[in-house]
Amino acid sequence: MSAIRVPVVEKIFSANDRMADINRIRLHNKKMFSINLMASPGAGKTSFILETIKHLSAVYRIGVIEGDTAPVTIDADKIIESGMPAVQINTGGDCHLDASMVSDGLDQLPLDTIDILIIENVGNLICPAAWDLGTDLKLLVASVPEGDDKPYKYPNIYRGLNVLVINKTDLLDYVDFNMDYFRQGVEMLNPGLVTFPVSCRTGDGFTAWIDWLKDKVEAVKSA
């Protein structure tokens, strides 16, 4: 018996991409602006979300999906303490969130009251880059102590971004971080990428980020 060749030509992530499209439509129907927030562990993802909430809580409701690899609610608890709705998704050890986990998270949030959805992905610079969640924005929080070589070592995540935040700028005087070298790598991978240097500790740089974000949120609301 000879083998018959059957053409398929289907993307390996097609199931995830379909689910991401469903999320995208669901979020747009609610006129919600959404962010897939990625970073390495310890870059300041939760601090960045909390600082953003602090600047916007008078104007917008911000819902948060917290992706964690372990069943600890440390991050989600902090968001809830800030007065905003949060849900924790435990990936059971998986290295990233996928679109179906996000869909489960959306089921548990009061979507009608939320203006901005922030999805805090699992701390990892490799895997989250490959999975579309259906958000408007892919944002990476890089941080000064991680080192200026990260774009060179983890190019894939930088290539797919819409926004880059460089956190912990208050530490620039204390660590060997060459901003020009870092930014040259970013520029090669993602020319003209919108970048906000900030410090979550001092609040430095947040005005520019918040103004930019407000414009995006309003554009989705009036769409």
Partner: protein, 114 residues
């Protein structure tokens, strides 16, 4: 990376197409994977042998067609192949380039018996 999830996706797609074609058995899976996808072939093969057991794909072989990364220089339009991102154009030294191949990540075809 996340080879187990990738392998599960491959099995789902291959099984669906095998059933639709009335296959009794799948003998081979032909994958097209760009050089820039951080997937380890051996690791996918390892998971494949485990998770395809007792399915229509049991005993089938994975073929990886690796597509080299190809860049085009935005300044001098030279096209070149490299294994890494972030390398200057070998012709003019420009750092401005775009990827024209090497990001493929799909299941091209399956080979079946009826």
């Amino acid at each position: 990376m996340h080879e187990l999830s990738v392998t599960e996706n491959i099995l789902a797609i291959a099984s669906k197409h095998a059933q639709e074609s009335g296959a009794t058995r799948v003998t081979a899976i032909n994958l097209v994977i760009g050089q820039l996808s951080s997937i380890v072939d051996d690791s996918v093969q390892f998971y494949w042998d485990m998770i395809s057991e007792n399915t229509i794909c049991s005993g089938s072989v994975l073929h990886f067609n690796r597509i080299p990364a190809t860049f085009r220089c935005n300044d001098c339009k030279h096209e070149y192949q490299l294994d890494t991102l972030l390398s200057p154009c070998p012709s003019c030294g420009s750092l401005r380039n775009e990827i024209i191949a090497g990001e493929e990540f799909f299941l091209d075809s399956i080979e079946i018996e009826k």
